[in-house]
Symmetry: D2
Subunit: 304 residues, 4 copies
């Protein structure tokens, strides 16, 4: 497979979508980003890298962090975790509160905001210093100790995140939050504020793509079966109410964030990270989605 040529073609053809969508503006600290940034990086099972554009520039990973916190909670609680959060696509936008009211405070899956808040609550209950542990875990995954929280982004989200505050209070009203709402939100905003670049992301997801042995880092130990199950949730629920579209057009497990980043991977073959800050109406990177669609079309590979 001539990945260099394919990535070049992806880079060129996806330019047609470079001006579509708009940068997330509901988080002040994110809205200042240069909207024209674009980076892409592929890491193969043979540890080869192919990269283009701003692949080494860090950005706010936002919801991509939900995969890391889910992994920690899944490692801690095993199958018991599913008593507090489901594995079904929500069919609704990332921050919908409607289903919580109808479904007794059990979020549909761990990748919508409500689900991630429950996961955060689990970590707060079981880990003494979850912020430190999370950062250690991500650094080990990416093998890069320079990864840090962006305190300004976390603070910025806390100051304006009334929707998430509504979600966490609704969850607590239904008995699905055990810690103080403020503490859950504080942890959640910190996890979202982690800054990584495409290379760090591609590297960090290698164990999820079974390019390496299943995760066994710090206190996080996932079996092969657990890794596969996380893959399944990524494929079903990784892109909010655009998950079906992503499975349809790209055909890979993956996860997006409103910072414009997307990670996706073909199990046992490669991980691929892409970054482009302009978002479509569903909150996913416009050019990033197109780039990945082109990539799997050109490479002819997917899980199907």
């Amino acid at each position: 497979m001539d990945y260099t040529s394919i990535l070049n073609q992806v880079f060129d053809e996806s330019k047609a979508f470079a001006n579509e969508g708009k940068v997330a503006d509901y988080i002040p600290e994110l809205s200042g980003i240069n909207p024209d940034k674009f980076g892409i990086l592929l890491q193969t099972k043979n540890d080869q890298h192919f990269e283009l554009g701003d692949s080494l520039e860090q950005f706010s990973i936002q919801s991509i962090s939900k995969v890391f916190t889910l992994s920690m909670a899944f490692s801690l609680l095993g199958e018991n975790i599913w008593k507090r959060v489901g594995v079904e696509p929500s069919g609704s936008s990332f921050n919908s509160i409607v289903q919580l009211e109808y479904e007794n405070g059990i979020p549909r899956n761990p990748f919508i905001n409500a689900g991630a808040l429950v996961i955060a609550d689990i970590l707060l209950s079981h880990i003494e210093n979850p912020k430190v542990e999370l950062l250690n875990f991500v650094r080990e995954l990416a093998q890069d100790n320079s990864i840090v929280y962006d305190a300004r982004v976390a603070q910025s989200e806390k100051a304006t995140g009334f929707h998430n505050a509504a979600l966490v209070h609704m969850l607590k009203a239904h008995g699905n939050i055990n810690n103080r709402c403020e503490d859950v939100l504080d942890f959640y905003y910190h996890q979202c504020s982690i800054r990584m670049n495409c290379k760090q992301l591609a590297y960090a997801f290698s164990p999820f793509a079974s390019l390496k042995e299943p995760c066994s880092f710090a206190s996080v130990h996932l079996s092969k079966s657990q890794v596969k199950r996380i893959n399944a949730i990524l494929l079903s629920c990784g892109f909010y109410d655009e998950s079906g579209e992503f499975a349809f057009k790209v055909g890979l497990p993956g996860k997006s964030g409103v910072g414009g980043g997307i990670i996706a991977f073909l199990p046992k073959e490669y991980t691929i990270a892409v970054w482009s800050p302009r978002l479509n109406k569903k909150g996913n990177s416009e050019r990033g989605m197109k780039a990945l669609e082109l990539f799997t079309t050109l490479s002819g590979q997917s899980v199907f």
Copy 2:
């Protein structure tokens, strides 16, 4: 009209429902109430009183307070108030968050919790010391300076009111709350904690029933037209998703509270307050509703 005889009959016949329903238990301080309490008091346009049972024992008026705060806000903002809250029945339970998400944070009416929180926010924005002003207003209406907030109830609700916290944060996420969420909730829980008895309530609602001149107390001035419009909202929306049922069976404007109190009135004729702590599934006093249905059936009077 032989009100003494009618009230006696109401008292006797409504006993059949004395053990139905259950006391509100989601507010710890309310759940300790003696569930068998029952009081009723009628005040006529001629300033006569007819009363039975525990009509002089104070209870937590809870949502009945929403009429007082609406009056203050309506007096302050006039018709502009309807830019921030509607006058339509919600068709949903008192604390539903679903419509807020679908309808951009504009609550259906001022008597569901979300609407009352917006009204509380208005008072916080326009009155220097709204807690003091509200109490003054209620005392003037009831002509009784002994009326006070119940700090323990307010505190109790604050400690467990995660659903209301979810509502106020959702409202703020939609830009319909201008003050700090904590401050809005603090005021809201205080207004709900006001303690009054049936006599004080019946007296306080006389201006709303046009038994006296339209409200003109302290800083609250309502025109005849405004009083009629509050009457209309009471008839349409005073009993959450049981409002149609109350209009159908009782046929009077009125308002209930989860403390078990109900106030209702026939304009230009009388006000009637009833108290019985056991609630039906909709959150309205079980025996109180039956008593009022019997009362208008026996007296043959309603707005229709």
Copy 3:
């Protein structure tokens, strides 16, 4: 009360809204109507008439017919009717199917389409020739034997009424329709196609306004209490999801139809019919609503 002067003022001032809204276009036979028509007619308890404009021109009464069919079914079944339809405002548009799915096929009230279809089904089950009986009943109420169905309108609605067909099949799926769906729709479209003018409507509603003795026509016998209860449903639910607004601004029981007609009344005082074909977004006559708001504002009378 100088009704002549008031009606003149209503006529003049409501002209400002004469070009707002648009004629119902989903029923081809209705869309051809002259949108500038406007008629108003007041009938008092003293049997006086005050009228202006096109008050003697017939139009399609559409949903106003739901009051007549409800009366027949209420007379036939008594309180048992409420096992199959509720008395609560729906909080949704006139043809919403959502609540049926959530609430097991029991329509919120008899004035939304789903509720009226259940009422139609009741009449089909209990009356041998319901079309003939309904017309007889309406003719007796209006004391005018010239009132007829408009077969072309009925046919036109049947040919395009897929939404109502969806509703009736959903009701049947939930076991709340006993006759053939086609037969229920046929009757329903006929009832909606009845043509009346403002004078006939004002006259026909006199018994509902208690200007005359309670209905006792043909096979329809309603007690005073039943008439009052119909009044209550009219006030709560007569204008779909604009019912609260109508109660708030007009303060009378009433019912609208997409033909542009509105009937309203002040019990024991008067009935008033108005017609203007342009509808607002809620499906109620734009100028008609304004005219009635002006009328009760100028006359200073309402049920409150």
Copy 4:
């Protein structure tokens, strides 16, 4: 891989769930089935068969037929098909009408009933004799000319299928049905009534699993890319609101029917059909789901 041993273990261990769930009773003709039937059949890329139990007994394939009709419509219209139906999981039960009302009559995906009705409408518009063509297509796929419609089942569903009738009328009200509702339902009930056994199903899905060249039968021609996209929709949406759970526990594209059948496959490796009539609350075969979960757990293979 010792498939014989694995299937034996699946057969034995899944017995524990043999009495859970209940046979679909809303279709009279289906409710008479022996609930204890169980068959399973695996077909590999090497054209080997492994089978146990009632694998050669035919049953009503019901919703599994939606894959065949989607294939025909996708072949006919190409990407234009997605203007009329989406590819997102619905997050709701198989026959929900709610989303149609909120989303303008565009069903979320072709595997919920509403979506399948739109697909049926497409076939009626583009094929002269769609019932004959569909049967020819299925016979060619399964290489078995004995496959037929079960007229009694089709008739039985038509006589009681008021929910589907509601769906198709709602779709037509939104302009997303071009043929007569009756004709769409007639075709739909026929497609659901097709009788096949596990062997025929496993064989028929070989082209979808890329065990053979992409479909090119009769008038149905699908590209490799189109086959992969159908796989993606199967994984996202094949099991109604249990699709995420199936992806999570089984990890294969698949489709269930209320007759108790399930087809699933690992692309380029095998197809597997299982049949057990007792259904869980989501409408999927209780023992069938467990059997497939055991199968992929024991074989250690999935798309992830």
